[in-house]
């Protein structure tokens, strides 16, 4: 029985498809549940920080609130504004949502355990996260509304700007690793997590992640005081829900990237007995939750940036800092002979 099953799964074409589908479900179901509960956690944590109770009516401690919200959103009417480009208007939220999902294909949750353990994992992540801007830009344009359009334009400029510094920070990490494979990046942190020797870059990456996911204090694309709700002002019901889910799934993704690049991914803090008993995926989840808590913490603490200050921070502060750090890292590794694969050619 088991032999037949394993033969079917590992040696036939259809079995391979089934296997990949199962692996995908194993990643996406916890992710979507996590997204549902992140919305609740955000409201609870912010409530606690502001001495309120937060949602506490649906179920004990409000645990059913996420589902109540989801059902409400599904039963609302989808309104398509007149003059909107129907296809693109509905395509944009699906794009945002599905991009936030497909990026998880390469995230390693254990030693070599990923849906696709590809050689250029980091570049894949960078490519997918740089595509996120299209959902927002298309939504802003297709809505045929000036607020949505301005929100979309702001977002496009913001995400392109911060992508540059994210790219340079990733290059610094890659210099120390010597591989573009995400699993190799985690393995390179066996002795010390990169957040210690590269602490400034860790902070810079986290702040850039906030800007990249359009989170407070950089949530200008949806700055309600000037743009009503920014790029999704015209969206309702399921389409709005997909944007919402996509935004939170992107937070998970950026937290996952922070964990893998700087916090040692699925590695335990120290490689000794009580820590190594806990399996890798649990460690990864703990680290992602820590980053998400910081996302919410920042939102509850800081006021929104002004747009020109945001651009100034991205181009005049983060870009030179990350570039200088990259050159410094390269020079240091070269001088001390710690550069991976040095002398191999």
């Amino acid at each position: 029985m088991i032999a037949t099953l394993s033969n079917f799964l590992f040696h036939t074409m259809l079995g391979h498809v089934v296997l990949v589908a199962l692996e995908t479900l194993a990643v996406l179901v916890p992710l979507l549940l996590g997204v549902a509960y992140l919305t609740l956690a955000e409201r609870k944590v912010m409530a606690a920080m502001q001495l309120r109770k937060g949602p506490n009516v649906n179920g004990p401690f409000g645990v059913l609130q996420a589902f109540a919200d989801a059902i409400k959103m599904l039963t609302k009417e989808t309104v398509i504004p007149s003059g909107a480009n129907r296809f693109l208007f509905l395509f944009a939220p699906f794009l945002t949502f599905s991009l936030a999902m497909v990026a998880w294909a390469v995230i390693p949750t254990g030693n070599g355990i990923a849906v696709a353990d590809i050689n250029v994992g980091v570049l894949y992540l960078l490519a997918i996260s740089s595509l996120g801007v299209y959902g927002i830009l298309i939504a802003g344009w297709a809505s045929n509304s000036k607020y949505a359009f301005l929100g979309g334009l702001r977002s496009a400029a913001q995400m392109v700007s911060y992508e540059v510094s994210i790219g340079l920070i990733i290059v610094s990490v890659l210099l120390a690793v010597g591989s573009l494979n995400l699993n190799d990046i985690v393995l390179a942190q066996r002795h010390v997590w990169f957040c210690l020797p590269m602490f400034p870059m860790f902070i810079l990456f986290f702040i850039s992640a906030l800007a990249e996911t359009n989170r407070a204090p950089f949530d200008l694309p949806e700055g309600e005081s000037e743009l009503v709700a920014g790029f999704f002002v015209e969206y309702s019901a399921l389409a709005f829900g997909l944007f919402f889910l996509g935004e939170y799934a992107n937070m998970f993704l950026m937290s996952g990237m922070t964990s893998i690049l700087f916090l040692g991914g699925w590695l335990p803090p120290v490689g000794i007995a009580p820590f190594t008993w806990i399996p890798g995926p649990i460690w990864l989840i703990v680290k992602i939750l820590f980053c998400l808590f910081c996302f919410i913490w920042v939102r509850a603490t800081f006021p929104r940036y002004r747009y020109d200050q945001l651009m100034r921070l991205g181009w005049k502060v983060f870009l030179p800092l990350s570039l200088a750090w990259m050159i410094g890292t390269a020079g240091f590794l070269m001088a001390t002979g710690l550069l991976p694969h040095q002398g191999v050619s």
Partner: protein, 235 residues
């Protein structure tokens, strides 16, 4: 299987490329261009060049096409006006097309400009080496000067673009963050003791700056000076 995937990518690529030039709405054209980039990246993946595939998406789709879309969305392009130039530019387009077509024929005909290229030892991928590493080895080890020269050309182009578009606007109010941070109460606030019935102007005016670019007189604010009270007003 690979052939099937190739034909899917190639068909969508050719169709979307056709739509780029035939779509009536310029925003749709750019979106079709992006679809085209994607399928080209898929072809790179099939050819085993995963690094180039990802780079194509990051650079062209993630950055260049975003700027295209950005500009095209803000422009109010009339399709009919754009069509007027068609007659004039058609010969140039045809010339470019002809050159590309000739190059394709050369490529398919296995014509080689340097037949001795196979003798160069460092070209090609060593066994067990990822193509990222192979490309890096080639560019940064064997052809580093040429690569740096390309970088310099781009730098010159960038400086040229900045020089052409940068305009000093003396009337605009620039924000100087450092100066704003360095501002103290002494630079900003000034208290004058005013006898009853006299105006500040009569006493020589405030020492405050007359323009934005000029700082206030230092020490014009004395925190220990007595605040205007009823007695002082009675003077």
């Amino acid at each position: 299987m690979t052939a099937l995937v190739f034909y899917v990518f190639a068909t969508i690529l050719v169709l979307s490329a056709t739509m780029v030039i035939s779509a009536r709405n310029p925003v749709h054209s750019v979106l079709f261009l992006i679809l085209g980039f994607f399928n080209a990246a898929g072809l790179f993946l099939l050819a085993g060049a995963e690094f180039l595939a990802m780079l194509l998406i990051i650079v062209y789709v993630g950055a260049v096409a975003v700027l295209f879309l950005f500009v095209v969305m803000m422009l109010d392009i009339r399709v009919s006006e754009a069509r007027e130039g068609l007659q004039r530019y058609a010969p140039f387009g045809a010339a470019v097309g002809a050159v590309l077509f000739a190059e394709l024929i050369l490529a398919f005909g296995h014509w080689r400009i340097a037949p001795a290229i196979d003798a160069v030892p460092h070209l090609g991928q060593a066994a067990g080496e990822t193509n990222t590493a192979a490309l890096g080895d080639l560019i940064y080890t064997h052809y580093v000067l040429l690569f740096q020269a390309c970088g310099l050309v781009l730098l010159v182009a960038m400086i040229g673009a900045i020089v052409l578009t940068l305009r000093e606007r003396p009337t605009g109010r620039r924000q100087d963050i450092e100066r704003q941070h360095a501002r103290t109460v002494a630079d900003t606030l000034e208290l004058r003791r005013l006898p009853l019935g006299r105006s500040v102007r009569e006493l020589g005016g405030f020492a405050r700056p007359t323009s934005y670019s000029e700082a206030a007189a230092k020490g014009s604010y004395d925190p220990h000076a007595p605040v205007l009270s009823d007695e002082s007003r009675g003077e």
